[in-house]
Amino acid sequence: MEPTKFIENLKKQYIDTEDFKLNMSSEFRQIGSYDSLTGMTIIVMIKDEYNVDITDSEYKAQKTIKDLYELIHSQLAP
């Protein structure tokens, strides 16, 4: 699981991607057009790209992109 690619996949879920830059310490809910719909597409993207199902409560507990990345990484199939 490549961090740069993960950030790129995440960024695709925002509609205002030209307006900001993301890095691992970004708090993804505080950025640009983020709202609950963005959250839904991020969860589906994680399922599509990494085949990882994360629950609502797991998702809600993550603050930064790094938090989310590490959660998915820990659940990746060996």
Binding site: L37, M40, V44, D56
Partner: protein, 340 residues
């Protein structure tokens, strides 16, 4: 024998609820954000004493006039609504009288939402191709605004009222847009019945008047007397079930993705539509979105968008259009139309 879509008209109530009005009522709700994300700028709201049969009548009259149809030749009325005038009788019977349709005409209601137009086309095709009816009138009419709690800003933002009438016949029409109805694919997942629901709306829930449920900061969440939508679950249903549905529709018509010139899906909201489009791998230029001035009119979004597509673009003979509806039920369906 084949069945053809031979005319579509739609009706939108005159009262408009725009994003500025919503922002005034909900100051924390940004107008720009609403429009940017949903693609919806305004929606039409039925009058207090305007019901689905009234909207049905207006749209039938419009269709008859626009396409110069003799109402005596209508053999069957299919009425799709989740806001019927009464539990009983069937609103289609009320409408037969109001519209002055022939007494030899069949008339039934069916209760479906966002997939309703597709199922209606399927029923109409069956009636025509088995020789039970030559001219079927499919009417979709919905007044969800009457079901939505005044404080429910999410649903008030998304849904609008509206109606559409479509004529399905045994012969193509040479003067107007006409398209043969191809093969269908359907789907149902009743385990999600409570993801879009009005709990206190039927015999199953004859309970006391419900109180508002609020979140921890006092924002309205739900009230069982009103429309409830679990947005996340509806989103997931759409994201995961629509792509395989599209593949099944294509397969049942022996087509591949690129053989379809335009995809017209149930117009739920722009962000979700774009997300689903990408998952279906449909190019943006082949995907039609038109809901900015109507919002989600439930079973009427597809016929409204189809009519607008026909008006905007010059359709050519042989052009294939894929229609797909999905939502409350949970229910979904899709079909191919081929322009004659």
């Amino acid at each position: 024998m084949k069945a053809y879509v031979n005319g579509i008209s739609y009706y939108l109530p005159s009262t408009i609820l725009d994003n500025d009005q919503l922002s005034r009522e909900f100051p924390e709700w940004s107008v720009d954000k609403i429009a940017q994300k949903t693609g919806i700028y305004k929606r039409h709201i039925s009058e207090k004493n305007e019901f689905s049969s009234d909207m049905g009548l207006k749209v039938i009259e419009k269709l008859l006039a626009e396409f110069n149809i003799n109402k005596a030749e209508i053999n069957y009325l299919l009425f799709c609504t989740q806001s019927p005038d009464y539990f009983l009788p069937t609103t289609a019977c009320v409408l037969q009288e109001k519209a002055g349709l022939n007494k030899t005409c069949g008339a039934i209601d069916f209760n479906l939402g966002c997939s309703g137009f597709i199922y209606g086309l399927g029923l109409a095709k069956g009636l025509v191709e088995t020789g039970q009816a030559k001219n079927v009138l499919l009417v979709t009419a919905e007044t969800y605004s009457k079901f939505i709690h005044k404080k429910d800003k999410s649903n008030r933002t998304i849904f609008g009222d509206g109606a559409a009438a479509t004529l399905i016949t045994s012969e193509p029409n040479k003067e107007h847009f006409s398209a043969s109805i191809g093969n269908f694919a359907y789907g149902t997942d009743g385990s999600g019945y409570d993801k879009l629901i009005i709990k206190n709306s039927g015999i199953n829930h004859q309970c006391h008047k419900s109180a508002d449920c609020l979140d921890e900061v006092g924002n309205f969440v739900s009230n069982d007397d009103f429309l409830f939508m679990d947005g996340k679950e509806i989103f997931n249903f759409t994201a995961f079930e629509v792509p395989p549905l599209i593949n099944r529709v294509l397969k049942s018509n022996e087509l591949t993705l690129e053989k379809v010139s335009v995809y017209i899906f149930h117009q739920a909201n722009e962000y979700m539509l774009d997300f689903v489009r990408k998952r279906c791998q449909i190019p943006k230029e082949n995907f039609y979105i038109n809901l900015s001035d109507t919002g989600n009119t439930v079973s009427s979004t597809i016929p409204i968008a189809l009519r607008r597509y026909i008006d905007e673009k010059k359709t050519r003979i042989g052009e294939r259009i894929l229609l797909a509806g999905f939502g409350v039920g949970l229910s979904l369906g899709g079909v191919i139309l081929e322009v004659e």
